[in-house]
C-alpha cells in the first residue's frame, strides 16, 4: 500500500524522518519496499502569474506570455491554449530542473527568445491529474514565487508498504498513523478538518423506503444523502494525493469515495439516486446460478455464498466486491446516495477469490474492515461531498444493522511472555500494548487482561499479544541458543540417504545431475508412443495450468532427460551428454490409487563430435549397463536383465531390469525414430523405481579361499537368438559332483568367418576352487569333462 507522508501529517505529529519511520515499520512487520520522492529532481520551479498574453508575430500557434514570479518578469512561449491573462501557472525558468532531470534553458521560437517554460501536469510528474496537452492552471491561492515542491503536496514522500494479510487495519492512512503511534509512543494522533463531526439531523429530502439485511453476512449498511451536487473536478491537492496513492482522479463525487477509503479504510460506493431501480435496498444471498453484470462489463454467475445488494429486486452490486453497471455517477448526477457498509470477510473472501476480482473494496473487506468505521466514514464522505461538490449534506443517514463483531478480552501471562521472548517485564509490555490501542482492562500482576480495539480482530490469543510486544521490541537483541537434549537420534532417513548415495555414485560415474519440471505437455505420452493401456499414459492433469506445456504430471523421467539433451544440443554442444535425474513420478494404479514412486533415470549420448585422442568416445548399451549394475550392486543386489519392450525404445536393444525377481525398470537405446526427431544418433537411457533399494541387502560374508583356483576355457557354438544368460544357466546347471564352480565369465563373442549362419561362438572361462585344499589336475579335468559332456547332451556344439 502507498502511504503519503504529507497526508500522514494530517493524522499524526511525528518527530522522525520518513526514512527512519520506514525502517521501524519494516522491522515491526510492515515491510517498506520502496520510498519515492515525488518531486524527483525538481529544482527552481515556481508559481507565476501570467501578466499578459499575445500571439507570436509570425507563428500563430504560439503565445508569448509575460510572467511575474514575484522576484522578476520573464518572457515565456507556449503552444498551449487553455490559459488566459491573470492565471497562475508553474514556471520552470532558465536553469531550473524538471522532475525527470531536464535542465531548462532558453529557446528561440522564430525570432523570439523563450526563457524556460510553463508546465503541464505531466511535465510536473503528475500523471492523470490534468489534461496533459494544456498548462496546469493553479488555484487562486497560489502566490507568485512559491516553490512548486511546497504546494499541493507536489513534493511528497511516498512509502510503498507491504501490508500482511492479517493487518486489514493498516490499509489506510489513519491505520498507519495508529501503527506509528504504537511504534513511537511519544507521538500524538490528530484529526484533519474534514473528519470533524457534522450536524446531520434533517430528514431526507427524497423519499426512501427501507434497508433490509436478510443476509447476516452484511453486518451493517448505511446510506448518506447529498443533494444538489455539481459533478466536476476535485481540488488540485486532492487529485495529486489520489494520483500519488495510485488512484486515477475521475470526478469529484467518485474521488470523494476513493479518498475517504484511502484515508480511513472504509470502502464506499456512490449511487445516482435517480438510477437506482427502486427507493429501497436489500442485501441478500445470491441464488445458485443467478447472474449479474459487474462494472467491468462481465457477466458473473453466482452461488449462494455470494451477497447481492438489490434495489427493487434488481441486483445493483456484488456486495463488498464490485458495483453493477447502471447505477454509477455520471456527469448529470445531482442527487447522490453514498453507501457505507460492512461485510463478512469470509463471504467477501470467497466471492472475490472464486471470481478472481481483487477490487480495492474486496481486498479490504476480505482483510476485515472495522465495523465501527461505517458511520464516521459516511459522515466524512458527506462532508467532502459538500466541500468538493457543493452538495447539501445535513441529512440524517439511514441505517440497518445485523449482529456486529465485538472484540473479546485476551489474557497475557508473565510465564508465556517469558517462555517465548525470554523477557518478562509486564509493566513495559502493558505500556507497549496500550500504545497500539489494546486496552489493559484487568489484573496488575503476572496475569493481565487486554481488550483489542474493533479494528484489530487479528488479536485473538495470548500469542498475538506477545507478538505485539515482540515486534515493538525487535527480535535482534534476544540471545542465540541451540536446542537442548535430543528427543531421539536424528536420522536423515532411508529416502534421502539413498538419494544421496545415488547422486554421488552417478556423478562419480560421469553423469551430471539435473532437475526438470514435474509437469509436462499434455501430449507427452503420445510423443513417446505410449499406448492407452500403459499406466504411464494415464496422467494426472492440472485443472488450472499456466500453459499447456506444463499441464500433465510426469509418469516417467524420460521427457525431462530428453529436454536436457535438447537444451544441450540447442546450445550447440558437441561433446557427450550424460545426465541423470532423481525425483517422483505421478501414477495411478489399477485401483486408481495415486502413487508417487521415486525414480532415477539417466541418459547417455556420445555427442555430435566423437573424435577423441584416446578413441574412447563411442559408448553404448553396455557402458550404460555397467552404470546400472554399479548402482544396484552397491545396494547388495544382483540385477538381472531380460530382453524387453518399451514403446519408445529400440525394438532390438531394450532390456527389463529385475531385482530379486521384480521388474524395477528398463534400459535401452531409444527408438531410432525418436533419435531422428532429436537429431541425435545413439541415445541410451535407463529408468528405475528405486523404492526397492532403500535398504542395503545384507549379504553373507565369504572369506577368500587360501587355495589356488584352476581355470578351464570352453567355447560353444550357440544359435544366435539364444541369450548369454541362458547359456550361462546351462553351464552352471552342468557342473555336478563335489567341485564347486567359483566363477563363470564370458570372454569372447564371435560370429562371422568359420561360424555357420544363424550361430555365434561364445567362449567362457570357468574357475574351480576349493576352500579346503589345492585341487588336483585330474579331478578338475574330470569335472570339466562332465560339464562338456552334459553341454553336448543339451545340444551345444563344443568348438
Amino acid at each position: 500500500m502507498l502511504v503519503s507522508w504529507e497526508l500522514l501529517k494530517d493524522f499524526i505529529d511525528l518527530d522522525v524522518s520518513p526514512e527512519e519511520a520506514a525502517e521501524r515499520l519494516t522491522f515491526s512487520g510492515s515491510e517498506v519496499e520502496g520510498i519515492t520522492y515525488t518531486a524527483g529532481k525538481m529544482k527552481g520551479i515556481v508559481a507565476a502569474r501570467i501578466d499578459s498574453l499575445e500571439i507570436h508575430p509570425t507563428e500563430r500557434k504560439y503565445y508569448i506570455a509575460q510572467l511575474d514570479t514575484g522576484t522578476g518578469r520573464h518572457i515565456c512561449i507556449t503552444s498551449a491554449t487553455n490559459m488566459k491573462a491573470g492565471d497562475m501557472v508553474f514556471y520552470a525558468g532558465e536553469g531550473s530542473t524538471l522532475p525527470d532531470g531536464t535542465v531548462m534553458g532558453t529557446r528561440d521560437f522564430h525570432g523570439v527568445e523563450s526563457y524556460g517554460m510553463m508546465l503541464s501536469a505531466e511535465e510536473l510528474g503528475l500523471h492523470d491529474v490534468d489534461d496533459p496537452s494544456g498548462l496546469l492552471i493553479l488555484p487562486k491561492d497560489a502566490q507568485p514565487g512559491d516553490d512548486a515542491k511546497n504546494l499541493y503536496h507536489i513534493g511528497d514522500v511516498i512509502l510503498d508498504v507491504s501490508i500482511t494479510p492479517n493487518r486489514g487495519d493498516l490499509l489506510s492512512l489513519i491505520g498507519m498513523a495508529r501503527e506509528l503511534k504504537g511504534l513511537y509512543p511519544k507521538s500524538l494522533l490528530k484529526s484533519p478538518e474534514w473528519l470533524r463531526p457534522l450536524k446531520q439531523d434533517k430528514a431526507w429530502s427524497e423519499d426512501f423506503g427501507t434497508i433490509s439485511l436478510p443476509d447476516k453476512g452484511c453486518y451493517c449498511y448505511r446510506l448518506g444523502l447529498a443533494t444538489g451536487a455539481k459533478i466536476g473536478q476535485s481540488p488540485l491537492t486532492a487529485k495529486i494525493d489520489l494520483a500519488h496513492l495510485g488512484m486515477r482522479p475521475i470526478t469529484n463525487a467518485v474521488d470523494v469515495t476513493n479518498y475517504v477509503m484511502l484515508m480511513l479504510g472504509q470502502p464506499l460506493h456512490a449511487f445516482d439516486l435517480n438510477t437506482l431501480p427502486a427507493r429501497e435496498i436489500t442485501v441478500r444471498a445470491a441464488h445458485d446460478g443467478e447472474t449479474m453484470m459487474t462494472l467491468d462489463g462481465k457477466d458473473r454467475v453466482l452461488t449462494e455464498r455470494d451477497m447481492l445488494i438489490t434495489s427493487g429486486g434488481e441486483a445493483v452490486a456484488l456486495a463488498g466486491v464490485m458495483g453493477g453497471e447502471q447505477t454509477g455517477i455520471n456527469d448529470d448526477t445531482s442527487t447522490i446516495v453514498i453507501e457505507s457498509a460492512c461485510f463478512s470477510p469470509v463471504r467477501v473472501g470467497h466471492t472475490s477469490r472464486r471470481l478472481g476480482i481483487n477490487s480495492e473494496a474486496a481486498f479490504r473487506f476480505s482483510r476485515t474492515v472495522d465495523p465501527n468505521l461505517s458511520s464516521s466514514a459516511l459522515m466524512a464522505a458527506t462532508t467532502l461531498m459538500r466541500d468538493w461538490c457543493g452538495a447539501t449534506v445535513d441529512y440524517k443517514p439511514l441505517s440497518a444493522e445485523n449482529e456486529i463483531y465485538t472484540p473479546k478480552p485476551v489474557k497475557l501471562t508473565r510465564r508465556k511472555l517469558c517462555t517465548i521472548l525470554s523477557w518478562d517485564n509486564m509493566t513495559e509490555a502493558t505500556e507497549i500494548l496500550e500504545g497500539f490501542g489494546i486496552k489493559h482492562v484487568e489484573g496488575e500482576g503476572d496475569e493481565r487482561t487486554f481488550l483489542p480495539p474493533t479494528c484489530r480482530p487479528d488479536i485473538a490469543i495470548e500469542e498475538d499479544l506477545i507478538e505485539e510486544v515482540g515486534r515493538f521490541r525487535g527480535y535482534n537483541d534476544t540471545p542465540d541458543k541451540l536446542p537442548g537434549e535430543l528427543p531421539r537420534r536424528a536420522d536423515i532417513g532411508a529416502s534421502m540417504r539413498l538419494a544421496g548415495f545415488i547422486r554421488q555414485a552417478m556423478m562419480a560415474r560421469g553423469y551430471t545431475e539435473i532437475v526438470t519440471y514435474s509437469f509436462l505437455p499434455e501430449d507427452f505420452p503420445e510423443k513417446l508412443r505410449i499406448p492407452g493401456d500403459d499406466i504411464r499414459s494415464k496422467t494426472l492433469t492440472i485443472a488450472n495450468p499456466i500453459s499447456r506445456d506444463q499441464m500433465a504430471m510426469r509418469t516417467t523421467l524420460l521427457p525431462g532427460l530428453l529436454s536436457g539433451l535438447k537444451a544441450a544440443l540447442a546450445s550447440g554442444r558437441r561433446e557427450p551428454v550424460r545426465a541423470f535425474e532423481q525425483g517422483k513420478v505421478f501414477l495411478k494404479d489399477d485401483e486408481h490409487e495415486h502413487l508417487e514412486p521415486e525414480h532415477v533415470g539417466a541418459l547417455l549420448y556420445n555427442g555430435k563430435d566423437t573424435r577423441s585422442a584416446s578413441n574412447d568416445r563411442a559408448e553404448g548399451f553396455y557402458d550404460l549397463k555397467a552404470d546400472v549394475c554399479a548402482l544396484i550392486q552397491a545396494r547388495g543386489y544382483s540385477p538381472e536383465f531380460r530382453e524387453g519392450r518399451q514403446p519408445f525404445t529400440h525394438a532390438g536393444q531394450t532390456a527389463d531390469i529385475l531385482v530379486e525377481g521384480k521388474n524395477i525398470g528398463w534400459i535401452a537405446r531409444l527408438k531410432p525414430a525418436i533419435e531422428q526427431e532429436l537429431d541425435a544418433e545413439g541415445v541410451y537411457a535407463f529408468e528405475i523405481d528405486i523404492s526397492g533399494l532403500y535398504d542395503v541387502k545384507r549379504n553373507e560374508f565369504v572369506p577368500a579361499s587360501q587355495f589356488p583356483a584352476s581355470y578351464r576355457d570352453i567355447s560353444l557354438l550357440v544359435p544366435a537368438d539364444r541369450s548369454n544368460d541362458d547359456v550361462m544357466k546351462d553351464i552352471r546347471a552342468s557342473v555336478a559332483g563335489s567341485l564347486a564352480l567359483e566363477s563363470l565369465r564370458l570372454f569372447d563373442v564371435y560370429e562371422g568367418k568359420g561360424i555357420p549362419e544363424g550361430f555365434r561362438s561364445l567362449a567362457y572361462t570357468l574357475s574351480y576352487r576349493s576352500h579346503e585344499r589345492t585341487l588336483k589336475d585330474e579331478e578338475v579335468e574330470a569335472v570339466h569333462n562332465s560339464v562338456r559332456e552334459s553341454l553336448k547332451e543339451k545340444g551345444y556344439v563344443i568348438r
Binding site: T26, G29, E31, T164, P165, N166, R167, P345, G349, H350, R353, N358, S366, R367, T419, L421, S422, I461, E463, E467, G470, R471, Y475, P479, D480, K481, L482, P483, P487, A490, D491, I492, G493, S495, M496, G500, R509, G510, T512, E513, I514, T516, Y517, S518, F519, L540, I542, N544, I546, G560, G564, A567, P576, G583, K584, H594, E596, S612, S614, D616
Partner: protein, 333 residues
C-alpha cells in the same frame, strides 16, 4: 680398481671378473698358490688375499647394478609418453546446485538433531491450507496461487503440510526437516512454477524464540561456511505466531557495494520465514498446545543455492541443460 670405474657395459665387467676372480683369474690362481708359501706366511697372506677378493667382488656387484639400472633407465626413457594427453574415459559429473544445497542443509540440520520427514507432492487442501489456519476464504491464500487437480487435490504450495503429517505420525517432542519440491502458479524471472523448500519444525516443552534464532543463525553460518550477520524482522504467516523473516548479510558484498547485483545495495538478503507454531496448528497435529509449543521455518533452497553459487536466473535451474551445470569444471568429455 680404476679400471672398474671406467666400465660402462656389462660385457666389460664380465671380462674384468674373469680376469681377476674367474676360475682361472689372477686372484684365484694366487689363492690356489698359497699352499706353496711357507707356513708362517700362509695365514697372513691368505687373509689379505681373501679380503681383497671380497672387496673386488662387492665392487663388481655394485658396478653391475649401476650398469643395469642405467640401461633400464635408458629403455624407460625411450617409452616416454605425453602425460598431458587427455585422460581416458569419462570426466566426472557435476552436481545440481539446488540438490547439493538440499543435501548440505539436511546434513547440517541432522547435526542439530533434526530428522528428515517427507510428504506427498500431490496434497490435500486439508493439510496444505486448512490445518495451517488458511481456510479457502483467507486472504493469505493470495500469496500462494495454487495448481489444482480436477478431484480438488492440489500440488503442495509449500512444505508446511509435512508439519502436520509429522506431528500426527511422531507426536511430541519432535525435530524434523522436510526438503522437497513445491509448486505455485507463478512464472517470471524471480518465480518458477516449481521450486524447492525446506521446512523445519521443532516441538517441545517451553520452547523460546531464542532457540529458533540460534538454530537459524547456526544453519546459515554452516551453509555459507562463515559467520554472517543476520537480522530478524517481524512478519506474518497464518501458521505461526509470532512470525518473523530472516535477513542475512549480503553474501556477495557484505553491504559494501551500493550497486551490488545481489542485494541491490541494501546489504541484506531475505532468506527464510519462520515463527512460533500457532496453537491451532499444534492442535491440528493432535498435540496439546497447553503442554507443548515450538517453532517452524521455511527456507527457499533455490534461493540459497543461487546465492551460494552466484546464479541469477531461477529458471535456468530447471531446463535440464547440462552445459550450464558443467561450466566451471575442467573436463569436457
Amino acid at each position: 680398481m680404476e679400471s672398474l670405474n671406467a666400465i660402462t657395459a656389462l660385457q666389460e665387467l664380465d671380462e674384468l671378473r674373469v680376469k681377476y676372480t674367474g676360475k682361472k683369474g689372477e686372484l684365484t690362481l694366487l689363492l690356489r698358490s698359497l699352499g706353496k708359501l711357507p707356513k708362517e706366511l700362509r695365514k697372513d697372506a691368505g687373509q689379505e688375499l681373501n679380503t681383497l677378493r671380497d672387496e673386488i667382488e662387492s665392487k663388481l656387484e655394485q658396478t653391475g647394478r649401476k650398469i643395469r639400472d642405467d640401461e633400464n633407465e635408458r629403455q624407460e626413457k625411450a617409452q616416454r609418453i605425453d602425460v598431458t594427453l587427455p585422460a581416458k574415459g569419462r570426466t566426472a559429473g557435476a552436481f545440481h546446485p539446488v540438490m547439493q544445497t538440499m543435501h548440505d542443509i539436511a546434513n547440517i540440520m541432522q547435526g542439530l538433531g533434526y530428522s528428515v520427514a517427507s510428504g506427498p507432492e500431490k496434497e490435500e487442501e486439508f493439510y496444505n491450507f486448512e490445518c495451517l489456519n488458511m481456510p479457502s476464504w483467507h486472504p493469505a491464500r493470495d500469496m500462494q496461487d495454487t495448481f489444482y487437480f480436477p478431484d480438488g487435490t492440489l500440488l503442495r504450495t509449500h512444505t508446511s503440510p509435512v508439519q502436520i503429517r509429522a506431528m500426527l505420525q511422531y507426536g511430541a517432542p519432535l525435530r524434523i526437516v522436510c526438503p522437497g519440491k513445491v509448486y505455485r502458479r507463478d512464472n517470471d524471472p524471480t518465480h518458477s512454477p516449481m521450486f524447492n523448500q525446506m521446512e523445519g519444525l521443532l516441538v517441545d516443552k517451553d520452547v523460546p524464540f531464542s532457540v529458533m534464532k540460534g538454530t537459524m543463525t547456526e544453519m546459515m553460518n554452516a551453509f555459507f561456511g562463515r559467520s554472517l550477520k543476520s537480522r530478524f524482522r517481524a512478519s506474518y504467516f497464518p501458521f505461526t505466531e509470532p512470525s518473523m523473516e530472516l535477513d542475512i548479510e549480503c553474501v556477495e558484498c557484505s553491504g559494501h557495494d551500493e550497486h551490488c547485483r545481489v542485494c541491490h545495495g541494501t546489504g541484506w538478503l531475505e532468506v527464510a520465514g519462520m515463527g512460533m507454531v500457532h496453537p491451532n496448528v499444534i492442535r491440528a497435529g493432535k498435540i496439546d498446545p497447553d503442554k507443548y509449543n515450538g517453532f517452524a521455518f521455511g527456507i527457499g533452497l533455490d534461493r540459497m543455492a543461487m546465492l551460494k553459487y552466484g546464479i541469477s536466473d531461477l529458471r535456468l535451474l530447471f531446463d535440464g541443460s547440462v552445459s550450464y551445470l558443467l561450466s566451471g569444471l575442467g573436463g569436457e568429455n
